[in-house]
């Protein structure tokens, strides 16, 4: 890779991480004021895991995620306007106002869903990998899931199937130390979740999930391995979520043991900015990126606020290809 291309790529990683952080900060604040209905699960603190993973993929590679869904599409390159509009329940939302915060899924960037039943995305990713393999497209399917999902049967069944059929799948386990309020050590008898992969004779990596370059390097290697037909790969990113399981619930349910200070001292954005500056990137350029992202996020919110809500009849479309009947009492 030429130095220029490497620089562009590095700046893009920083841009995407900034986009996630600023999107999440704004979403949390307007959720607190009641502008976003429902529960909001934010990705702040985990940006390097998502961005490093997605930067290692081709644009046409598939991605499946989970209820902590905002960071994944942004990491894969999605535009912010439809994502923010979705959070506000607007018709212009990426899911037409039917999915909301737990399902920010932009199929135009290769997403096949952000599914909010823990572990349920793993079989879907295995199936997408099967479809890619059968159609000979050379695509891989990457699945994000958390530490909690590694105790779900669906995750094990999906991984087993991918392994026994040598499917081009990458299972990125974002180990953020807590399944809602439950510390991972209370839920899983192994120290490294990557150990789960051994049962499926699956290649695995453990990476520093706060280091976007490290995540990118691991997933690049995983993607090359999977694409070459050797089978799926498990990547455990050791990371940390800054907010509670869902924000603005009134009290933090996460029983943190003081470790939050250590993790925040290794903030993925700060770490990366420092690295870029050490490598000679002009700090003013990074400041410009940050202020451009601030404008982008503000523009997304304005777009969302200016957008219409869906009409009642739209609750009856997309159940099937053809709409289902709407009862008369809703037609008035």
């Amino acid at each position: 890779m030429s130095q220029n291309r490497k620089n562009d790529r590095d700046l893009e990683k920083y841009r995407r991480m900034q986009r996630i952080r600023q999107f999440e900060d704004l979403a949390e604040s307007i959720h607190a004021q009641g502008e976003i209905p429902g529960a909001l699960h934010t990705y702040a603190g985990m940006e390097a895991s998502g961005v490093g993973s997605c930067m290692a993929l081709r644009d046409d590679d598939y991605m499946v995620g989970n209820h902590r869904s905002h960071g994944h599409p942004i990491a894969k390159g999605a535009k912010l306007r439809p994502l923010m509009a979705e959070l506000l329940g607007k018709k212009t939302g990426v899911c037409s106002g039917k999915g909301g915060s737990m399902h920010l899924s932009d199929f135009s960037v290769g997403s096949l869903g952000e599914t909010s039943i823990v572990g349920s995305g793993v079989p879907v990713a295995a199936g997408a990998a099967l479809g890619a393999k059968m159609q000979g497209t050379g695509q891989v399917a990457l699945c994000f899931f958390g530490d909690g999902a590694t105790s779900e049967g669906a995750a094990h069944e999906g991984m087993n199937l991918a392994a026994v059929w040598k499917l081009p799948a990458i299972f990125v386990c974002e180990n953020n130390l807590y399944g809602m309020s439950t510390p991972v050590a209370n839920a899983v008898p192994v120290k490294d979740l990557a150990d789960r992969a051994k049962a499926y004779a699956m290649k695995s990596f453990i990476v520093d999930g706060q280091d976007v370059d490290a995540v990118e390097a691991a997933v690049l290697e995983a993607a090359e391995y999977a694409r070459s037909g050797q089978g799926p790969v498990f990547v455990e990113t050791k990371t940390y979520r800054y907010a509670d399981h869902a924000v603005n619930m009134g009290r933090d349910l996460t029983p943190r043991g003081g470790e939050e200070h250590e993790w925040k001292a290794r903030d993925p954005l700060t770490l990366y900015r420092d690295r870029l500056e050490e490598a000679g990137v002009d700090g003013a350029m990074l400041d410009t990126i940050e202020s451009e992202i601030a404008d982008e996020v503000a523009d997304a919110l304005k777009f969302a606020r200016d957008s219409e809500y869906p009409q009642q009849h739209e609750a009856f479309t997309d159940v099937f290809v053809d709409p289902v009947p709407m009862p008369a009492y809703l037609r008035a």
């Binding site: 037409s96 599914t115 079989p123 879907v124 999906g158 087993n160 159940v319």
Partner: protein, 330 residues
């Protein structure tokens, strides 16, 4: 023309669609060895890439069907026995039924999940389910339950070509039913259309799956007693052809719903409620249900077999309805 069994109609439908469209493939437990005769010689003909034996992992491979469908394939998933759908409830309900909706129409899931209802032969409660009604309560799943070889072939081919997920419930009591089958490779019966299996004037019997042949036998017996029976087979349970049901009951004024499922919240219950809500003014008596009582299915044959709908129970219900008329007119 030679007659073909219900089981062979399934095989023919699959074979023709596998030949027609390279995106169609099959997966399931032990399909290569052809347990029931619906995949005869498929492995040799279509290869192991397109005819895939899976691990015993229903939630995994049914969910993988969803993923494959989302990226352009058209899987036929053979879940063997319908009781085996339960381990896959997660993927069927949360992923397959809801993905098109929850992502605002971005996801497309053209897939068929086949399973047989294997009841009436001492397989005990865990292998004898008729669970379509449970899935009728989940929007987003089309559900078919054909009763003849003719319907089976035309509807399964239509299901494979449909762009929505379809659950196909195959009643094993119909396996040996025979029909003459068209050899037109585009023979399709549209989903959502019921069929009048026999015309009559006094009572409409709306029967589901394996209850249809029993209702036809009961109808023949009742005709001898001077009671004229119309037998309506909805064929598709979702979307349900409410019009054909209501039109029939409007004509006869009496209705019996017959369903091999357990009574509470059965397909028979939904059909009964549809009749009462829409055709109440035409009814000359109550809408009766002939179903399987709300107990489990025991192993021991003598106490299992009488639990299902049978000719005698249907005839008794019909006589009760006709007596009700006489009581009212007297």
């Amino acid at each position: 023309m030679a007659k073909t069994t219900f089981l062979d109609a399934i095989r023919q439908a699959q074979e023709e669609e596998l030949e027609r469209d390279e995106k169609v493939f099959m997966m399931g437990e032990d399909i290569v060895c052809n347990v029931f005769g619906t995949t005869t010689d498929f492995a040799e003909k279509f290869g192991l890439e397109r005819v895939r034996d899976t691990p015993i992992s229903e939630n995994g491979f049914i969910g993988a069907g969803a993923g494959a469908a989302m990226v352009g394939m058209r899987p036929i998933i053979d879940a063997t026995i319908s009781s085996f759908l339960f381990p896959a409830m997660d993927q069927i309900v949360s992923i397959i039924a809801k993905s098109r909706y929850i992502y605002g129409g971005q996801a497309k899931l053209p897939l068929v999940i086949r399973s047989c209802m294997f009841y009436g032969n001492s397989n005990a409660a865990q292998h004898s389910d008729r669970p379509y009604a449970m899935f009728m309560n989940v929007p987003g799943l089309k559900i078919i339950a054909p009763s003849s070889a003719y319907d089976m072939k035309g509807m399964l081919k239509a299901a494979i070509r449909d762009d929505d997920p379809v659950l196909c419930f195959e009643d094993s009591t119909c396996w040996m039913n025979k029909s003459e089958l068209p050899d037109d490779p585009d023979f399709l019966i549209p989903l959502g259309k019921g069929d009048i299996k026999k015309e009559g004037n006094d009572i409409s019997i709306i029967a589901v799956a394996g209850a249809v042949p029993i209702a036809l036998k009961a109808a023949a017996k009742l005709e001898e007693e001077g009671i004229s029976i119309e037998v309506v087979d909805p064929r598709t349970l979702v979307p349900l052809d409410r019009e054909i049901i209501c039109n029939s009951v409007r004509k006869t004024g009496r209705a019996i719903t017959v369903d091999p499922a357990h009574q509470t919240c059965s397909a028979a219950s939904e059909i009964s409620a549809t009749i009462v809500e829409n055709v109440f003014d035409a009814l000359k008596g109550p809408v009766l249900r002939v179903t399987t009582p709300d107990t489990h299915l025991p192993f021991s044959p003598d106490i299992e077999k009488p639990l299902y709908p049978n000719v005698d129970r249907i005839c008794a219900a019909a006589r009760q309805l006709m007596d009700a008329r006489q009581t009212v007119s007297a």
